[in-house]
Amino acid sequence: MNKLYETYIKKEALPTLFCSGCGNGIVQVAAMEAMEKLGCKDEVACVSGIGCSSWIPCYYKLDVLHGMHGRALPFAEGLKLARPDKKILVFTGDGDCAAIGGNHLIHAAARNIDLTVIMVNNYIYGMTGGQKSPTTPKGSVTKTSPWGSMDEPIDAVKLVMVLGATYVARWTTAHPAQLAKSMAEGMKHEGFSFIEVLSQCPVQAGKSLWKEKDSYRIMETYKRMTKSCGSLEEAGEGKIPIGVFRHDNQREEYASKLKTVTRKQKG
């Protein structure tokens, strides 16, 4: 068993309910590695929404709020403002974050509130059985787009960049070390940190999007699809840029702004 499991995982809750080969487990391990690196376990609480990826923190030996579909961010914002000294890790999926929770994502990013959001993007609604999600590539045949998806996919990274999130990165499950490093940076960073992880769903997305059931082959596809670079424009045509796109310490964080006002008013 992975060494980190001893400290971080409620072993009595194992095995996880993730399907065999699901990328969520890799994200789970990466987040543990990040916390271990920072040595901040006691300072961290997790918040998640509803969906496969929102089960990730439920196995942690931490304070966890497994909330409502799409509302992980408002729960986390309330928690953060009640305890501004702590680190809040938010696990959410592409549907949870960019569809039903899209409005909350926009506002949380614009506020630059100190949360570390890990959006696990598997390109599909896995838990409900393989329906189209906001990130599903155009033309894909899924359970709810039998004639090919007509919607333009949403790029959450671009979205939060525009809104002024101060730490933005994207990795895939095939880059676990980089992902863990980014998570640690995001947690350390004071401001809205957004990390998108392209993750494999060998069962639902494997069937309808990748025509491939083998997890590792999907991960290899991710490697081929992506290009590591420092900015979104560099990747070139047909490639998804991965890497750290922004790490800006200049913009003031929301909770600290609130603290300044409180200090002034309370005297």
Binding site: N2, T173, A180, S215
Partner: protein
Amino acid sequence: MEITIDKACCKGCGICLKACPKSVFGKSRKRNNYGTAMPEVKNAEKCMACGACERLCPDGAINVERKAKE
């Protein structure tokens, strides 16, 4: 290097088989608690302790114990 695979955690996805750059793991006839095919350590001497299998195993089933060279 001592590599162990937890029978209770492994779900038999096979990521480790392909992810290991030195092909340390191989297929076996053993079954994990899930009832799916479980990998086994075939070439432990080749392991260079890169940690890829540990990081990529979605179920935290693999542990690589780094030992000082004798």
